[in-house]
Symmetry: C2
Subunit: 133 residues, 2 copies
């Protein structure tokens, strides 16, 4: 299977497949006589694993750890769970932060008439700098 076919089958672009190989997330693919990369079903499976994990917001570093655990048939599930829990904690922290941003901006937007005049609570607030270090 050429890289294009593997890309199609996995939903990961050929560009990204090469990238994952270059950063060591994937074992270097087999090469054919013409130097083309050659993939099998198992590779496609790993690519789908990566794609799904990326969509859940795991970094490639985290995915590397997850893949290593996945390949190791003797791993304790505790490790996997720990990685996932840490990731959830990070996600929740970022969600909280973004909710605070959205809330602040929402309130400022509500206070802003949105008319033709230059008065604007949003800019006033930014200019006042009410959230210093």
């Amino acid at each position: 299977m050429n890289i294009g076919a593997a890309a199609l089958a996995s939903g990961v672009t050929a560009k990204s497949i090469r990238h994952y190989e270059s950063i060591g997330l994937l074992r270097p693919a087999e090469r054919r006589a013409n130097a083309y990369r050659d993939y099998c079903e198992r590779d496609v499976h790993e690519l789908r694993f990566i794609k799904r994990a990326r969509r859940l917001g795991f970094s490639t570093g985290e995915i590397g750890a997850l893949l290593a655990l996945w390949r190791d048939r003797a791993r304790p599930s505790r490790e996997v769970r720990r990685i996932a829990e840490r990731h959830v904690a990070e996600l929740e922290a970022r969600i909280t932060e973004m909710q605070a941003m959205a809330k602040t901006l929402g309130a400022l937007g509500d206070a802003c008439c949105g008319d033709d005049r230059p008065d604007c609570p949003i800019l006033d607030d930014l200019a006042r700098g009410s959230g210093e270090d």
Copy 2:
């Protein structure tokens, strides 16, 4: 005021101040005879504006638009509001997405015993690829 003092006063690093100037977010600073950048209170004020807007998650592109509106004493507040509302919508979309990630991972983590055995619903789910294109 040297760049270091402006950095201290605004909370923006000297590195970032130069960067903002290089991308056109700030007007090029006045230079003294020794080529050192020279800042005034007004510059510090703009830097604080930028810092606060960055903390609210605006991109430098968006901040450029906000700054232009801020400098323009005749701007309609409608413009500002539009930018802010679009940004809030983006934030909310990303929040929703991240909440879905966290929920999925939380459920998988709950189903995972976290013991010494290799059975792990998290990896099983990733490997199954239950969320294809």
